[in-house]
C-alpha cells in the first residue's frame, strides 16, 4: 500500500511501553514522521512518531531501536537494513542527548556540597579538636611508651626515609656533654614527661620530637653547627614541641582522619592523589602553627637558661641558604627566613648568658658518632 510522501517502509516490532507484549508492525517513513500500523490486525493505526523528537536507544548490528522521545517507554525495533539506513539519514536528532535535568543537577550540587562539607569538617575541625583532647588526656607513661617504640622503629627503618646511616650514637663523652646541655634547658622547662635526647648518625641535618619526651637529633646538625648555642636552640625548639604535646597530637590526628579519608576515597584511580593532597593540606595548616609556637617556646627557654638566642636565628639563615626558604601553603614548616626574622626580633643582645659547654665538651659532642 503506497502512501503519499513515503520515503521507505518495512517491518518492525513495536512495544507500547505499557506491557511486555511485542506487536509486529508495518513501518512507513515519511518526511515528518514514522507511521506505525498493525501488521496483523487489518492495518489498525498504532502510533505516529514525529521525526523531530525521534531518538535512538541503541544500534547494534542490523538492529535499530527507537523511541518517540526521551520520556516515553515505547520502543520500536527495526531489523531491516534499508529502512534503518533511511531513518538514520532523515531523522534529525537520533543521537541527541537527553535535555538537562535541572532537578537532578540541583540535587547533585546539594549532595556534593554536603559530602565535601562533611569531610572537610571532620578532617580540618573535628579531628584536630579530638586529637588535641586525646593528647592532653593521655597519661605520661603511655606517651613515653609510645615514643620509645616509635624511636626504635625510626632507628631500624629510618635509613631510606631520612638518610639515617647508622644506629644510635653513644660515645660516652659526647653523651655526657649532651646531658649537660639538655639539663640546662630541662631545669627551666617544667615538662610533664622526662626529656631524653639521643643522637642518630645521618647525612642530613634535622631534629625531631617523639611522643613521651624522646628527642632525636641527627648528627649532621651537630657537626654543621658553628657553636653549642645553635644546637641548644634546636633542642629548645624540640622541647617546645614536647611541652605542647605536638608529637602525640600529630600521630593521633593523622591516623584517625587519614584512615577515614583514605578508606573512603583511596581505593580507586586518582583517589590516592586526592588523599595525599588532603593529607598534605591538613599537615601543613596544622604544623605551621605548631612550628611557630615551638619557636616562641624555644626563645623563652633559651632566655630563661641564659643561652644566647641569636645563633638559632643563624641556624635558620644557614638552612635557607642550603635548602631553600620553604614555606608556603602546603609546607609543614613556615619559611625559614620568616623564622629567622622572628627569632632575631626576640633576641636581646644585652641579655645575660653563660657558656653551655667547655671547648673540650663541644669537641666531644661533635664526635659523638665516631666509634
Amino acid at each position: 500500500m503506497n502512501t503519499e510522501g513515503q520515503i521507505a517502509a518495512g517491518a518492525g516490532v513495536y512495544l507500547d511501553g505499557e506491557s511486555a507484549r511485542a506487536h509486529p508492525v508495518h513501518v512507513t517513513l515519511t518526511k515528518e514522521a514514522l507511521l506505525l500500523v498493525e501488521a496483523r490486525d487489518a492495518g489498525r493505526e498504532v502510533a505516529v512518531w514525529p521525526l523531530a523528537t525521534l531518538r535512538r536507544i541503541d544500534a547494534h548490528g542490523a538492529h535499530l531501536r527507537l523511541a518517540p522521545d526521551h520520556e516515553s517507554d515505547a520502543r520500536l525495533t527495526i531489523r531491516e537494513m534499508p529502512l534503518a539506513a533511511a531513518i538514520r539519514t532523515v531523522a534529525p536528532a537520533l543521537g541527541a542527548r537527553a535535555p538537562r535535568n535541572a532537578k537532578l543537577q540541583r540535587k547533585l550540587a546539594v549532595w556534593v556540597s554536603a559530602a565535601v562539607g562533611s569531610v572537610v569538617l571532620i578532617v580540618f575541625v573535628i579531628a584536630p579538636m579530638l586529637a588535641d583532647q586525646l593528647a592532653e588526656a593521655l597519661p605520661p607513661e603511655r606517651e613515653v611508651a609510645l615514643g620509645d617504640r616509635l624511636a626504635e622503629t625510626i632507628a631500624e627503618e629510618g635509613v631510606a626515609l631520612l638518610g639515617i646511616s647508622a644506629g644510635w650514637c653513644r660515645a660516652p663523652e659526647g653523651r655526657a656533654a649532651l646531658e649537660k646541655m639538655t639539663e640546662r634547658l630541662v631545669q627551666v622547662a617544667d615538662a610533664h614527661v622526662p626529656i631524653r635526647v639521643e643522637v642518630l648518625g645521618s647525612a642530613a641535618p634535622n631534629a625531631f620530637a617523639l611522643p613521651g619526651g624522646r628527642i632525636i637529633i641527627l648528627d649532621a646538625l651537630i657537626r654543621q653547627a658553628d657553636e653549642p648555642a645553635e644546637v641548644a636552640g634546636v633542642l629548645a625548639h624540640e622541647i617546645g614541641h614536647t611541652l605542647a604535646r605536638d608529637p602525640t597530637r600529630n600521630v593521633l590526628r593523622s591516623v584517625a582522619s587519614g584512615a577515614v579519608v583514605s578508606y573512603l576515597f583511596g581505593d580507586f584511580f586518582g583517589g590516592f592523589l586526592l588523599v595525599a593532597m588532603v593529607d598534605a593540606a591538613v599537615d601543613a595548616q596544622y604544623s605551621q602553627e605548631a612550628e611557630r609556637a615551638a619557636d616562641r617556646m624555644a626563645v623563652r627557654l633559651l632566655a630563661a637558661s641564659e643561652i644566647p638566642i641569636a645563633p638559632l636565628a643563624g641556624f635558620f639563615r644557614k638552612i635557607a641558604q642550603e635548602y631553600g626558604d620553604g614555606g608556603g601553603y602546603l609546607s609543614s614548616h613556615p619559611a625559614s627566613s620568616e623564622r629567622q626574622a622572628e627569632i632575631e626580633a626576640a633576641a636581646r643582645p644585652d641579655a645575660p648568658t653563660r657558656p653551655i659547654l667547655t671547648p673540650a665538651e663541644w669537641a666531644a659532642l661533635q664526635r659523638i658518632c665516631a666509634d
Binding site: 511485542a22 541503541d58 556534593v112 569531610v119 579531628a127 586525646l134 593521655l138 617504640r149 592523589l273
Partner: protein, 435 residues
C-alpha cells in the same frame, strides 16, 4: 565424581514442552577493552570522579548487548545519580567511621604501646563498616534493577534494605559460630528475601528451592577445605620450632622465618586448592540461585516463568583460572618490559660517573614509581575487563534460559522510581562488582 549434582538439575530436564527464551550476548573483547581504556583514562584524569560514569558506560555496554529472545536489556542509570548516591553515603559514613576510629583509638592508646598494634587497632575500627555491607548490597541491587528494562518494562525492588541487612548480619554471626556450616541456609534465606521483593513490571519474582539441594556439594567442599587447613596446621605444628621468648632476638626470628618459608610450597598449594574449591562452590551457588528463580507473570496456572541455567561449573572455573593466569602473565610481562625500559633509560640519562643531586634523583624515582603504578593499573583494568570479566559474563549469561517465557507478555509496566542513594553506600564501602 566427587560432587553430586544438586536436585534442581532434574527439574530443568523435565520441563521440555514450554518455549524457552534464550539469552545471547553480542559484546566482544575489543570494543569493551577500548571502552574501558577510554573511561579509565578519564577517571585518572579527573582524580577518580569519572568512575561513576565509567561504571555506567560499562553497564550500558553489557546490558544493551545482552539479548533475551532477541530483545536487549536496557540500562538507563546515569553517572550523576551514582555520584549523588556516593555523596549521600559519605555524609553518613564519614562521621560514623571517624567516631568509631577515634573511640577505638582512644581506647587502644590507653592500653597499647606498640605502634604496630596501634595501627592494627585503627584498622580494626574500619571493621565497623562490615555490618553495613549487606545494606549497601541490597540498595545497589535495588538501584541497578530499577534502572534495568526488558521489552520496555522496568524492573524494581521493594524496600527492605534494613531488614535484609539485619538478617544478613545475624546469618554472618551464625556462620562464624558454626565455622560456616550454616552458609547454604543463609544463601537460601537471603536470596529468597530479596528475590520475592524483585518486580518485573507489576509482577513479582519468586524463589523456589531449599538449602537441601545445596548441602551435598557444600559439605563436600567444606570438608575438603577443613581437611586441607587441618593438614597444613598439623604439619606445621608438628615440625615447627617456636622461639622460646615472646620477643625473640634477630637470630631466632630469622630461624623462625626460614622455617615458615620452608613451608611455602605446601602453603601455596593448599591456598590454590582452597581457592579452586571455594570458587567452584561460588559458581555452583550462583547457578543454583538462577535455577530457583521464578517470575510470576500471571496468577493463572501457566503463568510462571522458570529461570534455568545449564552452565558447566567446571568449565566456568577452568575458564576463570586459565584466563587469570594468562592475564597475570600478560600484565607481568608488560610491567617487566616497562621496568627494563625505565632502567635502561635511567642508565642512558645518568651523567657519566657523576653524582646526581639527591633531590632530583628522588623526584625522578618518585615519578617513575607513579608512572609504573599507573601503567600497571590501567593495563590490569583494561585487560581484566576484556580477558576475564566479559568472557565469564558471556558464559554465565548465555547459559540462562527462561522456560515458559511467553507468559511474560502479560506483564504490565511499572512507574519510574526515584534513585534514592543509588549504589552510593556500595561505592563508598567498595562492595561493587566490576561494572
Amino acid at each position: 565424581m566427587v560432587f553430586r549434582w544438586g536436585g534442581d538439575m532434574r527439574r530443568i530436564t523435565e520441563a521440555r514442552s514450554d518455549r524457552a527464551l534464550g539469552v545471547t550476548f553480542q559484546g566482544a573483547q575489543r570494543p569493551v577493552a577500548g571502552l574501558t581504556f577510554r573511561t579509565i583514562l578519564a577517571t585518572i584524569f579527573t582524580l577518580g570522579v569519572y568512575r561513576f560514569w565509567m561504571t555506567t558506560h560499562l553497564r550500558q555496554y553489557y546490558w544493551s548487548n545482552t539479548y533475551i529472545d532477541n530483545d536487549p536489556l536496557e540500562y538507563d542509570g546515569t553517572g550523576a545519580e551514582k555520584l549523588i548516591g556516593f555523596c549521600v553515603a559519605i555524609v553518613f559514613l564519614a562521621p560514623y567511621l571517624f567516631f568509631v576510629t577515634m573511640a577505638v583509638g582512644g581506647f587502644s592508646l590507653a592500653t597499647l604501646t606498640d605502634p604496630v598494634a596501634l595501627e592494627a587497632a585503627f584498622s580494626v575500627s574500619l571493621l565497623a563498616v562490615l555490618p553495613l555491607i549487606p545494606f549497601a548490597q541490597y540498595r545497589a541491587e535495588r538501584y541497578i534493577l530499577s534502572r534495568t528494562r526488558w521489552r520496555s518494562v522496568r524492573f524494581g525492588v521493594e524496600k527492605g534494605a534494613l531488614t535484609y541487612a539485619a538478617c544478613a548480619n545475624l546469618w554472618a554471626l551464625a556462620s562464624l559460630l558454626t565455622l560456616g556450616l550454616t552458609a547454604p541456609l543463609a544463601t537460601v534465606s537471603l536470596r529468597r528475601f530479596i528475590t520475592r521483593r524483585i518486580r518485573f513490571g507489576d509482577r513479582p519474582l519468586d524463589f523456589e528451592g531449599g538449602a537441601g539441594a545445596l548441602y551435598p556439594t557444600f559439605l563436600s567442599i567444606w570438608g575438603a577445605v577443613v581437611a586441607i587447613v587441618a593438614l597444613i596446621i598439623w604439619r606445621i605444628s608438628d615440625t615447627l620450632v617456636i622461639p622460646p621468648s615472646l620477643e625473640p632476638d634477630a637470630y631466632e626470628f630469622n630461624q623462625f622465618l626460614a622455617q615458615l618459608i620452608g613451608y611455602g610450597p605446601m602453603i601455596v598449594l593448599g591456598y590454590i586448592a582452597i581457592f579452586l574449591l571455594t570458587t567452584y562452590y561460588g559458581v555452583y551457588r550462583r547457578r543454583f540461585i538462577v535455577n530457583c528463580m521464578r517470575i510470576r507473570a500471571s496468577e493463572e496456572p501457566g503463568g510462571t516463568v522458570r529461570l534455568a541455567s545449564d552452565l558447566s561449573v567446571v568449565g566456568y572455573v577452568w575458564a576463570l583460572v586459565w584466563r587469570t593466569i594468562c592475564l597475570a602473565v600478560l600484565v607481568g610481562g608488560l610491567l617487566l618490559a616497562l621496568g627494563l625500559l625505565m632502567v635502561s633509560l635511567a642508565r642512558d640519562l645518568a651523567p657519566a660517573g657523576g653524582a646526581r643531586d639527591p633531590g632530583q634523583v628522588q623526584s625522578i624515582l618518585i615519578g617513575a614509581i607513579i608512572l609504573f603504578y599507573l601503567v600497571a593499573g590501567v593495563a590490569a583494568t583494561v585487560l581484566s575487563q576484556a580477558m576475564l570479566t566479559l568472557p565469564l559474563y558471556r558464559r554465565f549469561a548465555t547459559a540462562i534460559g527462561l522456560r515458559n517465557g511467553d507468559a511474560l507478555e502479560a506483564v504490565r509496566q511499572r512507574g519510574r522510581e526515584a534513585s534514592g542513594s543509588a549504589e552510593g553506600f556500595a561505592d563508598a564501602i567498595d562492595v561493587g562488582a566490576a561494572f
